[in-house]
Structure formats: C-alpha cells, structure tokens
Subunit: 135 residues, 2 copies
DNA sequence: TCACTGTATTAACACATATAATACAGTTGA
DNA sequence: TCAACTGTATTATATGTGTTAATACAGTGA
C-alpha cells in the first residue's frame, strides 16, 4: 500500500502522511473505506505505531480522514477531500505566480507554460488539429 | 539588512539564506556588491558565525553569490541570478499545475485564476476599463 | 606586519524524530 | 461476559540535526 524510502531525509511520519494523502486524494482508497489500523500499518511498514499515529492524527486534523475511537480510521467524503486538496494546490499556484509577477514576468509567459504542460499531459486528441489552442 | 524570527520553526541558516536570497534576486543588493563578512553578519544578528557560513555556502552552491577566499562574498551577475531563480519558480509552477491537471482540473480554471491575480497585482490602470482582459 | 577575510575542525548542548514499553477506554463478535 | 480488536496517551531512551563555542589556518590588502 505504501512504500517508505529510508534514504529520504524527510521524517517517516511525513512520508506516510503524504503517501496516504495521495491515495485518498486520487481515489485509490474510496470514501468511507477503512484504513489499516495504526498497529497493522506499523507492522506492515516495520516502524513504530506512534509514528503511524502521528501521520493519521495530522491527516485527520486536515480533514482527509476521520476516526472513530475503538473502531478505526476512515476516508473522508470524496468531494470534500478533493476540494480541500485542490484548494491547497491553487493557493500554491497563486503564491508562485505572484512571485513571478513581482519579478516582472508577464502573465502570457505563465499561460504559455501551462498550455504546453496541458498538451503534454493529455495527448488524447490529434495534435495536428490545432483546435484547443485557445483555452 | 535581515530580520530573524526566533518564533519561526525554520532553521536560522535557512531564514538567513532565504532573506539574503530575496535581497539578491530583487536587486536590493547589486551585482558584485560585497556582502557583510561572515563574522560581521553573525555579530549583527547575534548568532554564530558557523550558521552564517552555512547560509553563504549554500547560496554560493546555488549560484546566487560567489566567494573570493580572503576577500569576501559578492552578489553574482544580476541576469544570471534572476534567471536561475525564475527557472526554479517556473519548475514549481509546472509541478503544481501538473498535479491539478491530473486531478481533472481544466486548464481554463488555472488561467482564470492567474488572470485575477494579475489584475490584483497591478492596479495601475482604471479597473472600470476592461481592456486587458485578454492577456 | 597586522587586521581583516573565508574556511575547517572539534566538542557540547537543545530539540525534533523515532523507537520502545505500557496503559486505558471504546467496539465488536463469539 | 469476555477476548481481541480498535484509537489514544504517557514515559523513557536513542539518534540526528541545528546551533553554539572555541580554535586554527591560509589568503588579502593597507
């Protein structure tokens, strides 16, 4: 389910948090699905239960999962999870763009950049047809 | 020149690095201008010279400043500094946008978002005139 | 030469991370 | 009811990074 990288300098609880967060956001684990218990996950990853607990606690405080004491931890409603995550990404986008603007970079450069990304990301339509250039 | 925040959880050497980096990138300190010596900066900020040295070393390894042993540290050529920093920001922009795309967010939403930012950032023209909507 | 500069090394301490060993209370099903 | 799960909390210990401290050495320039 999750793969740890012990060469990574980031704290383990953060790696667990990020990895699990991606599974939740991507929908790989579904709404209201039960996550492995703290102890089970700790055994699987061969790390301490306290470390897992910390990752779960932070994911819960950010809204990605919810916990029923005595029962387990579950994935929050998909639409909610998706929204809070996209919001955080948009805030990040704003921040970076604002800094580029303050350095005199024109908006057109950024937009061009995004368009190229989009073409690279979704090569579903025939690239010889230039029909989606204006979006 | 630099203001430290001891409540900030980030390491001091990182705060120094960021603050100095911004001064360099913004042009507040000019190309080939001499930076305060390691010991001088340490005295001013009331911290250890080793901590400053680390900040300087990393800034140098990333190209923002250059050092002449026995003389001092100096700001790298403005055009170069500006380029490597903008590049790093564009990479950040790409990364965020790619993730939003992978979550199904349309390119148009991101572009709209950037346009609103731009308007907020440069309120020089009369906002009642809607002449710059298409950039 | 003398007073600067950057650089390097070693030791000591504080703090965050992580492990370890327990303990307690809620839930569930036999 | 009882046993085996669950989440949660606490305390102690080990380790690594950040930071300070005290030196030392070599290059620069007046």
């Amino acid at each position: 389910m999750i793969q740890l990288n012990h060469r990574d300098s980031r704290p383990i609880y953060e790696q667990v948090k990020d990895a699990l967060g991606k599974l939740v956001v991507s929908g790989a684990v579904r709404q209201d699905e039960k996550l492995p218990s703290v102890r089970e996950m700790a055994t699987t990853l061969a790390i301490n239960p306290n470390t897992i607990q910390r990752a779960y606690r932070e994911l819960e405080s950010e809204g990605y999962i919810y916990t029923i004491p005595g029962k387990g931890s579950y994935v929050s409603p998909q639409s909610y999870v998706s929204n809070i995550y996209k919001e955080s990404l948009y805030r990040q986008l704003d921040k970076t763009a604002e800094e580029l603007l303050s350095l005199g970079e024109p908006l057109s450069s950024m937009v061009d950049r995004l368009k190229k990304l989009s073409g690279k990301e979704m090569p579903h339509r025939d690239p010889s047809k230039k029909s989606d250039e204006n979006l």
